[in-house]
Assembly symmetry: C2
Homo-oligomer: 173 residues x 2
């Protein structure tokens, strides 16, 4: 399996992983690490990097979009990603399309339902030095950011993907 893609793990909905990570890490520096509290502007206009579907409890269908710095880096295979890179993971509930399935004659079509959340990764190697140079952010469907406790496990989980500069999602050609 050559692709490992995925999606700026959004921790709040991943309670199992979150609990695991926070119990495994949790020093004072990390508790104070800054995270992204303002939604980057214009992200819905960014280019598509890849889609992802999460089964089970997450039950999510979404896409990762990237700003111009991100797209250039992905296409050039630049690792680590340069400062200025921003990744946005647009998540929706994954719902069966009854209308499509009726036409297809079987239950197969899964489409985006209601928006659930939008996590971000913002590369700024100075500002976010405590979390691998990445600022993590997570905004609920109402546009509001989550709190620091919610964000704490992000880095500990993403840190496991050092070879990809902490980014799970791979570019779909």
């Amino acid at each position: 399996m050559r692709r490992i893609a995925f999606l700026l793990v959004w921790v709040g909905t991943m309670t199992g992983v979150a609990a695991l990570m926070s119990s495994a890490s949790g020093n004072a520096d990390e508790a104070a690490a800054p995270f992204v509290t303002e939604k980057p502007a214009g992200y819905r206009d960014w280019k598509w990097i890849a889609s992802a579907h999460e089964e089970g409890n997450l039950n999510s269908l979404g896409a990762v979009l990237g700003n111009p710095v991100a797209i250039k880096a992905y296409r050039a295979g630049t690792i680590p990603f340069p400062d200025g890179t921003i990744l946005a993971a647009l998540h929706y509930s994954a719902v069966p399309s009854e209308e499509n399935n009726k036409i297809f004659g079987k239950a197969q079509s899964i489409v985006p339902g209601s928006p659930t959340n939008v996590p971000f990764m913002v590369k700024d190697s100075k500002k976010y030095a405590a979390t691998g140079g990445w600022g993590f952010g997570h905004f609920n469907a109402n546009g509001k950011p989550v709190d620091a406790a919610f964000m704490k496990p992000c880095f500990a989980c993403h840190e496991q993907f050092r070879a990809h500069d902490l980014v799970f999602t791979q570019y779909a050609p």
Copy 2:
């Protein structure tokens, strides 16, 4: 269920539907209807409309991207889509990510695998008058277009979505 999204039904892989449609239609005009034989340029840079996952035999994960005319029409709710609209459905095999699942501690992550095909819909109400104003196209992973017989059922299936101007995919906000 308020969303019905889906994806420029790509007929070749949908043998059941295709067979159904061609037996239900199949007049001489339709057999001669033009379809898209040149891949629209630059589509990988277009904006994201929505993602879709097809289970079962299709086993597909992909995204629909639209050119600027398409995006403007979607956002304004313009139906029918104006001439110049182009939609591209980038399809990949849907594969589990073993690396992600290992981190998550369970099998839940489905990501894009190998590219499979890219169907297009091109709106030109004169050129494609015989097929509802849409030119349908379908390019395999090698970049080559399919033949006329393959394309014949496209219109008959899409025609069932008159209320959406023959377009299955809805815009993910």
